[in-house]
Amino acid sequence: MMNAILGGAIIGIAVSLMLFLNGRVTGISGIVAGIISPKKGDMIWRVFFLTGLILGGFILRIFYAQSFEQISNAKTIDYVIAGLLVGFGTIMSGGCTSGHGVCGISRLSLRSILATVTFIFFGIVSVQVFKLVRGAL
């Protein structure tokens, strides 16, 4: 639990740096969406951000390999279905766990609070349905 809170605090520092220096909200789905349908002059920083995420992934893989140990009954088709829904839903609602969940709640945005309650509720339902369909998580 201490690692979780510490990891969260590091995320809090990261998104605060982004706001303080670049004036941006660190919403991952929004940053990705701006690459998929780019506007002029608003693209490069997004690519740099994603590159940073992936570089961080490499460092984790080298020094903290356990962070990629996955335990799941999900099949490839489950990952495809989940990806489609996550992509569609995050753009439709204008944010994901980072944009709504961390940044939005921190500034007490009602939209983000309601979005977060909604996606957690449906996440709970989804996990229950998954257990019925695949036997276990």
């Binding site: 670049n22 990705v32 951000f49 460092i59 893989r61 839903g89 753009i91 204008g94 957690i120």
Partner: protein, 142 residues
Amino acid sequence: MKNVIALMVGFIFALGLGLGGMTQVQNVRGFLDIFGAFNPALMGVMIGAIGVHSILYFLIMKRAVPLLDAKFHVPTRKDIDKKLLTGAAIFGIGWGWAGICPGPGIVALVSGNINILYFVLSMFVGMQLYKLLESKLIKLGF
């Protein structure tokens, strides 16, 4: 310079996700599995992240502008619409189904697990699909 900052923020963000256990699907789904083997890691991450950022947010926003940009690009909408809640519901179903949201998905691309790659590619398709259908959905009242 702003690009370097973005790279650095992405890098730090990824380390936070990894340390917090958010790149492991079992921790994310464990948090959502409230009737099963509940795992509080995601709650801990949210407490840490919101705890730090909520304080720093209000300190930072005392400034008129950010350090390296002409203005803050922070959402200001306050209306609650069907699009927001329907989108969040769809996202939640996908999130619980695999235990991955956009950030951890991209970080875990280097994990060597091919299913993560399928997830991220499908996520791009899902985003594009929404853009294609957006005008139709608006006509339907979203």
